[in-house]
Symmetry: C2
Subunit: 146 residues, 2 copies
Amino acid sequence: MPDLIHDGDSAAAVSSLRSAVMLLGRRLKHQRVDESLSPTEMSVLGTLARCGSATPGELARKEHVQPPSMTRIVALLEAKGLVRLEPHPDDRRQKRVSQTEQAEAMLAESRTKRNAWLAHLAEGLDEDEWETLRAAAPVLEKLAHL
Amino acid sequence: MPDLIHDGDSAAAVSSLRSAVMLLGRRLKHQRVDESLSPTEMSVLGTLARCGSATPGELARKEHVQPPSMTRIVALLEAKGLVRLEPHPDDRRQKRVSQTEQAEAMLAESRTKRNAWLAHLAEGLDEDEWETLRAAAPVLEKLAHL
DNA sequence: GGGTGGTATTTAGTTTGGGTAATGAGTTAC
DNA sequence: GTAACTCATTACCCAAACTAAATACCACCC
């Protein structure tokens, strides 16, 4: 690992990365598959799809959101029939959240639409640039979860 | 440019990119140099540093924010002594926004602190991964502005 | 067994950062 | 010279997070 703080190139890269991520994030917020679903709600569904099921607390930690926010999000998702809430087998303080088949179908449709939007945006990139980005995607994801 | 919609690998990359960007964006929001400055305000200062000066409307378009929001942001920045507002030389409807020396100093300090945070986060990446990310930074920035 | 401290979730109330609609001033085209 | 358009602003609103406090439960120690 290079010295990220004092190496000039890395410093510039970090700065560039930050502003790009924040700007792109703001734009992505507006690209919703389902108007009634907030970006974080979508993200929670994605997490559930990857992890199977989780407690609200685990979800809050994974999404880097405070527990009360996750309570609200889970409640809204349940009201829409996208997640199921069951009592935790071992600990009656906790609950188990898992996605429904409906959520799975919506995620599939959502991916198609998101891809269309981002693909449209990425038409402004050349082949090499896209290749760079494709290589970086998993790394960025790892970084985001560290 | 490959077919981003139907190529399976690219579809996965797009999906991964989206969730990573949104999650990382949410986390970055909390890492402020100056507690009294919102992420978008910081971003505006960054844009001004790159572009010299601009009108509120130009800034709104660059940041992908509505004009009224930019009016408020610029007003807050002016109240903090970080930008200067002058009448536009050619068109009396418009104004020219430019950063002050104070803003420049703050940006420098800000970069140091941001780098420290992101560098700390990036300790979990190995050298190759960081190299990948560094190469992707300018591309991501280009994509965000398309 | 009962008290004590800690944890999971929720409720209530607040802040924040953005949006839309409507207004006023200034410019451009006809 | 007026009609149409553009830039910035004002007033109002809304969504989505937060903090603090309440509730329910577990685990440990005596």
